[in-house]
């Protein structure tokens, strides 16, 4: 069970990294519009007319 001595700190570090990533995303406005981009990526075709 000594592996826990590695895994538990690792999980803490991972959680903190995820938290930091989330911080960056929220403060950059990634969550301001949750629906629009999903549609936009589907709509963005450049076929000539």
């Amino acid at each position: 069970m000594d592996i826990l001595l590695l895994l538990i700190p690792l999980s803490v570090v991972l959680a903190l990294l995820i938290g930091a990533g989330f911080w960056w995303a929220a403060m950059n406005g990634q969550f301001d519009d949750l629906e629009g981009p999903a549609h936009r990526i589907l709509a963005d075709d450049d076929r000539p007319h």
Binding site: V12, A15, L16, W23, F31, H39, A43, D44, P48
Partner: protein, 838 residues
Amino acid sequence: MRRKSAAYDAAHCFHCGEPNPARMHWRATMDDVQAVFCCAGCLAVAQTIGAAGLSSFYALRERDSVPRRDDGVGDAAASEAVAGPTRPELADDGMASVALLLDGIRCGACVWLIESFLQQQPGVLGATVNYATRRAQLRFDPNETTLSAVLAAASRIGYRAYPYDPRRRERMARRESRRLLLRTSLALLATMQVMMFAVPAYVSVDGVDREHAALLNLASLILSLPVMLYCAAPFFVNALRDLQRLRPGMDVPIALGIGAAFTSSAWATFTGTGAVYFDSVTMFIALVLAARLLELRVREKAGDALELIARDTLLMADRLDAHPGGKVCERVIAASVPIGSFVRIAAGAPVPVDGIVVEGRSSVEESILTGESWPHSKAVGDRVMAGSVNRDSPLTVEVTSTGSATMLAALSRLVERAANERPRLAKLSDRAATAFVVALIAIAAVGAGVWWFIDSSRVLPVVFAVLVVSCPCALSLATPAALAASAGALGRRQILCVRPDTIEALSRVTDVVLDKTGTLTTGDVRLTGVTSCGSMDADRCKSIAAALEAGASHPIARALADAARDGSVVARDVVAVPGCGVEGTLDGVRYRLGRPQWVGELCRAPVPMHEVAANEISIALGSESAWLAWLRFGDTLRPSAAALVASLRDMGLRVSMLSGDREATVRHVAAALGIDDWRASASPDDKRAYVGALQAQGAIVAIVGDGINDAAALARADLSIALGNAATLTQWTADAVVLGSDLARIAFALRAARQTFRVIRQNIGWAIGYNVIAIPLAACDLLSPLAAAVGMSVSSLVVVGNAWRLSRLGRSDDVTDRTNRARHVADSDLRTAVASIT
């Protein structure tokens, strides 16, 4: 998403999906499809979209997504007028940027269409639309184009855009909302991980190894620390402020509880003795934050919708050419009236400008400005303010100040009121929760005292078990969450709760009083029927009548133009004879449309027999040779009126109808809708007295109305609901505003409110039952702190989950199903009703 071309049928308009008229005149090839349109407006919008190479919009959009048809006239001017005070900001590179509020967005394809189309406009550097908030950020080169040109472009493809000033307050609100989202999510993330660290202690039989337990506790501490310091910071800040003001609110017990639990857990972690409660602490913080986030989102949405209404109801002023003795020379946007000129304010109209009364005497209601609903009487020399409402008789006012500033200030008060007030019930449950927490601390103290004498080593576990096992969530979390969730569900159905206590009032309603004109009926004159009395078929008669009236703009001409969209028939030599009708020539034949006697002079035949229902007027159409037809006009029932009455009945509500209209008319409508209890020729005072009489019998009365005449009754009723297209006044005094004309929404609102209160009662029942059992158990040391933490967490999840169910109201099938069934029933009723009227 589906391809429109595959599903397209020629019976419906390619653009808006409305049924096409029998003769299809508007055709175009769109994307290799022969498209047919219902009117020239739709054709123009579709061609603009097609010419811009954006016709794949039609393939991408969702079913009901229709950009508004181009209203054309006035829009650009109106936008420009609003744009006046909102000058675009100039960036360092000389480019202008402006925030826009968009109306008409219904699905993601609209976002794409607007962005692509605006970016094609000359001088536009960038356009980004936020689908969630219906707002756009536009960047353009002010040397190449103007804001109004861009706004006009948006209106050409059927969307209205209003320049919008993202005030400082709003920017701060957005930052606040982002922070709350971040706090909630980080707390949830930490909760998940801390829970995982706590699982070994919950599931192991002989206990976790000492060394592993220490490591798990330390890991939990590290993850809980940011939650305590960042996520929970608002609780501590608010608690401190509350204590300074000596007015403890909900945040004080929260701060105390999490502070104490965290400190003791940290202490236990370092000393290696005692229990840790990191999982309970983080979960509690996450749940409370989640409930607050939900509430904030709902309030933001309600505020946005109200702001849009405010922008949509641009104030217009009737300017006089001279005073005294002047007449109305032009109708202009209030902001552009020159100071010192004179405007006429009709009875019932909102006052468009600040000014001084120079003629007339009336009472003016200033509730929007002062909150006082009693009207003030105004005479010559008195000051009137923009945003108040002139009630009794026309006034002439000399303008002292104009600009949207005054009006917008007033309207933003309404928006703020809706956004910032907490419902009475939420306040009540806050107070109850505070009392609950105080009582709880007392119980914990007593328990500690008792256990001190029995077994001093058990004091700490018992106190914590008592503090942790109790769950005030039903009061502090679930009630606000339930109210917010149902307000959100109502908002999605375009029902705006203007006052904070609206949902509570809705749930208690026993009687619904409906206004007739403008509520159950559309309030416009419509062509209700054509009876042919010669050889010519009714449709042809309708086309001829429409052609004769094509140049006119009175209500009957408009009704004819709406009814006969076929514009191919053209009349020549049209002469309007005042008081009689119109005369004109089509294909060499002279026709007359108007008063029977006058038409009879042309036909040289006696007036044929016909019957006119009480609520209709009829005019005759004849040619040189024969009588052709009777055209009947009337106020038509809204299609959803019968559905509303039926579903209100189903809910066990008493339904009555009030109208200022003639008795015969009201009797017809009442019979058509199956309303037994009705009053005709009711004056405003009668209506108010009627509502008062119902209340005297113990009824909780909701009144649905629109007209100025309803204001007194609306104010008297326990709950007032205004239709969104109703006169401005009632919107301002109403508790709830229903946008659009679908009356079924009113029944939905009542049903949703009842459901909300059922859920709140369930939650409180659950919480009382749970706490009554759990707290004594914990106080008697029959519950380990571990079990207490699990019990509390499960209990909060139950109540919050139960409240969350409400946000799905109106999406869930059973509600829609019931509505649909009611609508189906109503449709057949309506057909009978229409048959009985016509």
